[in-house]
């Protein structure tokens, strides 16, 4: 049988700029998946995405219960936006979502970062956003390798077979 010539992905750079559960986990699942395939993987967290690598916030991420048309009640009925605006609803829904993910063996954010670095993946924070939010390296999880500029980010993303993905 004739085999198609394949040019496998060699390196991937994932950029996460948002703090919602779905945005952060999209980056983490894809990043971890890439590491598990033997692809050189780097994750870059910027703007609100920094919440995912900040010790204080990383395991308390929320999903939006207002302005989120995908939100449903358990059972599939529509989730009224006005209900999502009530105090505590977003926290409750988010806690439920984290619990459901844990049941599927999807780890909490800190453990996920550890799995990624265990396989040689690298985690970076954006310097500009760090300055903006007045964060220091000490506020970040230990698995964060460095705080870098955009220029440094591009320097390390060269090479054939490299992809940059914005989640």
């Amino acid at each position: 049988m004739e085999k198609e010539e394949k040019a496998p992905l060699k390196k991937i750079l994932l950029i996460c700029s948002k703090a919602s559960i779905e945005d952060v986990y999209a980056a983490l699942v894809m990043g971890n998946g890439a590491v598990m395939e033997g692809i050189e993987t780097k994750l870059f967290f910027t703007f609100f995405g920094l919440d995912a690598i900040t010790k204080k916030t990383m395991n308390k991420l929320h999903t939006a219960t207002t302005g989120n048309p995908g939100m449903r009640m358990p059972g599939g009925l529509p989730f009224p936006t006005i209900l999502g605006a009530l105090p505590g609803v977003e926290a409750g829904v988010s806690a439920m979502m984290r619990k459901q993910m844990d049941d599927l063996d999807i780890p909490p954010v800190d453990e996920f970062l550890e799995l990624i670095t265990a396989g040689g993946g690298e985690i970076y924070a954006c310097k500009l956003a760090m300055d903006m939010f007045k964060l220091t390296k000490e506020d970040l999880h230990e698995e964060v390798k460095a705080v870098i500029t955009v220029g440094e980010l591009y320097e390390m993303s060269g090479g054939e077979g490299t992809q940059i993905v914005f989640t």
Binding site: N32, G33, D105, L115, A118, G119
Partner: protein, 103 residues
């Protein structure tokens, strides 16, 4: 489905080399597949292969996290035992189907 002769035995394998019938598996076959994958099997490898085979036999899913918590190895050691693509390599060598999990 195709067949492949490994360690002198004819084995049913999938297109990408995973064994179709876990009962055909033996340590000799594992060693042969491991060699193809560039892995030299040690006792630690076999301990983990046992864990994987038991998990699959029990109908449970395999994840990197689950293996990291197996008590046999942690995630880092798992990557060291099967460099590159650990879960894919380990399951191939263990003679179980290709894992369907995303994590």
């Amino acid at each position: 489905m195709s067949t492949k002769t490994i360690a002198g035995v004819e084995i049913n394998v999938t297109e990408d080399g995973y064994m179709n019938d876990a009962s055909q598996w033996s340590k000799e076959i594992a060693a042969e597949i491991a060699k193809e994958e560039g892995v030299e099997l040690t006792d630690k490898h076999f301990e983990l292969i046992d864990f994987i085979r038991n998990k699959v036999a029990a109908g449970e899913g395999l994840t990197l996290r689950g293996i990291g918590k197996s008590g046999v190895v942690n995630a880092k050691e798992f990557y060291q035992l099967f460099p590159g693509a650990p879960l894919k390599k380990a399951t191939k060598i263990a003679g179980v189907p290709k894992p369907t999990s995303c994590i």
